[in-house]
Amino acid sequence: MLLFALVGLTTIAFAQKKKVTTSATINFDATTKLDALPKAENKTVVASLNTKSGAVAFEAVVKNFSFSNPKIQEHFNTAGWMDSDKFPKATFKGTITNLAAVNFKADGTYSADVTGDLTMHGVTKPVVTKASIVVSGKTVTTTSDFTVALADFGVKGAAIGAGKVSTDPKITVVAEFK
């Protein structure tokens, strides 16, 4: 009985280290000098952060990227681009590799090194990036900027060749964990 109670308490303590939000945001910026339209935001990204193990993850519904222009949004989802009917989600699974440099119990801004695998358009590639982690009481806000080479993920469109869409769009991921 005591053993079960101990196992239960350990499980609860471990579970409390995993923080989750369903409203992380991803900004996708593929604008160029020729075109300011390929830019979108997704505000309903599921993200998790395990402050004990340093595991980080997110999953974004591709169709929930919202563009200002209907035609650009339609192109983004077509088979020639993100093919969101076939590949409905983009995901990332990674780890903070310098976890000792981040004190989740003390308010402050920390710089984290993150490595992991990004999967989009059905292709998985490694990503190495920096993340800013702001601890304020029980709230932890993480921000990370990185670029992705569209060709590496098998995304090739005529507009990229024509210079209207960046070959390396900037991705910004912001997640606020309470």
Binding site: V20, T22, S23, K43, T44, V46, F58, E59, K63, P88
Partner: protein, 155 residues
Amino acid sequence: MTEVRRKKNPWIKRVLIAGLLALVAGAIAIWFIFTEKFTDITKREAAFTVNAMDFLKEFQTNDSLANTKYLEKIITVNGRVSETEAADTTINIKMIDTATDAYIIFAFQQQHLAEAKQLKEGDSISIKGSCSGGTYSEILETEFVTFKRCAINKQ
């Protein structure tokens, strides 16, 4: 010689004018397509009006079937606000099935962000938005349905 010139000139002119008109029409069409913005969601007709929990159940039962029916459609969802969650500078609204933790999440259209901030947990509400479909979350181990460009339905 003069007679031949008189016969040719009108045709050249016509072709040039037609070409010019086609060019202008094409330029206008391209300009219109690429400067167009999404219409205010409140001015769009909903393809479906649904109860939140019944709608969620359809996705939990068979999400590919539900996606075929609802994906990229304008839908009015009636339900109760389970949670409000900070998202960048605004908030998202969630309706949760407490038995399974499956949920619907609504991200509001730019011009309607202030409305979302007024909503509180427990409010009975009608929300109209563009359905981005449902999928299973490996992180949360539950089904979730996302909406973009939402507004409170006041009709």
